[in-house]
C-alpha cells in the first residue's frame, strides 16, 4: 500500500470531484459536504467510466404520485445505465447484492505531518502550512 498526495484541499471544494491517474489507475476523488471519498473510475456493472457520471441524490421510495429527492449530492449515477452508487461506500442502490464500486481510503492530512513521509508526491510541493488530500492505493 502506498500513499499518494493527489490534491490540495482547496482544489476539490464541497460538491465537486476530480479524476486523477495514480499508479496506472483512474480514481475519482469526491468532496461530499466536506468529507473526501475515492472510487475507482470503473463501473462494476458494465465497465463505464463511473466517475464521469452525474452526482445526484436518492429518490426516496414513496407512495404512488409522491416524489422526493433525499441525500442530494451523495450518489453517483453511472453514465451508461444510470445505476446509482453511494459515494461514501461504493454501495450500489440498484443491485445491492451483486454490485459494488471499488472504494479507496482517502484522508486529509496537514503538510507538516506529510513532510515526515512516507508518501509519493510527484507533482506536489507540499507546504507545511496547507492541508492535502492523501489517497492510499
Amino acid at each position: 500500500m502506498k500513499r499518494y498526495v493527489v490534491a490540495a484541499v482547496p482544489e476539490i471544494p464541497p460538491g465537486t470531484h476530480k479524476i486523477i491517474e495514480v499508479s496506472g489507475r483512474e480514481v475519482g476523488v469526491f468532496n461530499v459536504n466536506g468529507a473526501f471519498y475515492a472510487l475507482l473510475n470503473r463501473c462494476p456493472h458494465g465497465g463505464a467510466a463511473l466517475c464521469k457520471g452525474t452526482v445526484v441524490g436518492l429518490v426516496r421510495p414513496g407512495g404512488v404520485g409522491e416524489y422526493e429527492l433525499i441525500r442530494k449530492g451523495e450518489f453517483l449515477r453511472c453514465p451508461w445505465h444510470g445505476w446509482e452508487f453511494e459515494i461514501s461506500s461504493g454501495q450500489s442502490y440498484c443491485d445491492p447484492t451483486k454490485v459494488k464500486a471499488r472504494k479507496f481510503d482517502v484522508a486529509v492530512e496537514r503538510g507538516d505531518d506529510l513532510v515526515k513521509g512516507p508518501y509519493v508526491a510527484e507533482t506536489y510541493n507540499v507546504a507545511i502550512e496547507n492541508d492535502y488530500v492523501v489517497l492510499t492505493l
Binding site: R60, G62, G63, H81
Partner: protein
Amino acid sequence: MKLPFRGAVDCDIHPAPPPMSALLPFMSDYWSDQLQNRYIDKFGFTLTSHNPLLAIHGRPDWRPKTGTPGSDIDVLRAQALDDFGSAFAICNVLHGATTLFHGDMAAAILGALNDWLAKELLPRDRRLRGSISVTLQDPKLAVAEIERCADNQDFVQVLLPALGELPIGRRLYWPVFEAAQRAGLPICLHAGSLYRQAPMGNGWPSYFVEDYVTQATAFEGALVSLLAEGVFRKFPDLTFVLAESGVTWLPQFVWRQDKMWLGVRTELPWIDRVPREIIRERVRMTLQPFDAPSDARVIQRIVEHFESDDILLFSTDYPHWHFDGDDVVPDGFTSELIRKIAIDNPYATYARLPRPVAPARNRTEVSA
C-alpha cells in the same frame, strides 16, 4: 392435447350478444323509447374486430344451424360446457355499445346487457358465470354499474377492452379499480379496441390481420401503463386478467420491462421491487389463443420462461377458432401445470367461484 380430467374452469367463453330487442325490456322508458324512435335498435352493434361472420370468430363445427356463434344456449351448453367437462365457464359478452361515444347511451345499453346476462342467460345453466360490462367514458357511471351488479354473486369480474380511450392505468380510472377491488372482482382486459386511436402505434391498419396480430402490443401497453401509473401498488388486492392476449409475448415483455425499470426507475418511486414479481402476483392470462408452434419441446421451453405456474387460466375462447377437436391444451404442458391452470389458478383468481369440496376426478376414472 385434451384436458385429462373433468371439472375445469373455463375463464373465457363468448355467448353472442343478444339482439337489441332483447335488451329493450331492461332499459328505462326513456332509453327504450330513444333507441326505437331513432331506429338505433335496428343496428347490429357488431364490433369491427369481432365480426361473427368471420371464420376465426366461429369454429365451423361450433356454429349453430341458425344465428351467430354462441347465440344458441343449448348448443353452447353442449359444446362449451359438456364437451370439456367444465365446472364453470365465465361469459364475456362482447357488445358494440362499449364503443359508443355517447357515454350515457353506452351505459344504458351495457346496463341492460348486464341485466339480460343475470336474468336471462346465466340462470339457464348453473355452470355459467358472468362479467360486468362497463364503459369508462364516465368513470362514475362505471362505478355505479359495478356497485349495482356486485351483489349478484354470478358476476365474477369486470370486463373492459384492452384498448380504451386512454392508457388504462391513468388516475381518471382509479375509482373504477377501487370499486372492483372493494367488490372482490378482478378486472378483465379483453382483446379489442374502442378504435379511439389506431390499434397499431404506427397508424391505421388496412387489413384485419394487422389489427389481430398487433393486439399483443395493446396488452403490453395496458400492462406497462398499470405498472408505471402505480395501479398495482395503489390497489393491492386487485387482479388483472388478460383475456385472448396470445400469452407467449409475456416473457419478453417482462425481460424488457425489468431491464428498462432498472435504468429509469427513479421516474417511479412507487415501484419498489422488480416488476416481474408484481406481474407474477397480480396478472393472469387466459390460455386461448396460445401463440406458439405445435412442437411440445418448444412449448415446454416457453412455459419455463414464465417462471411461474400461477399465471395461466384455462380457457377455450368458445366459439372462436383457435384449435380443432378438443385439443384445447397445448402439447408439452405437464399434468401438474394443467391442473394448476384449469383448477387451482381460476379458483384462486375468482373468489366468487365456489370450489367443489371433492377433488376433480380423472377422466379415466369417470369412464371406468
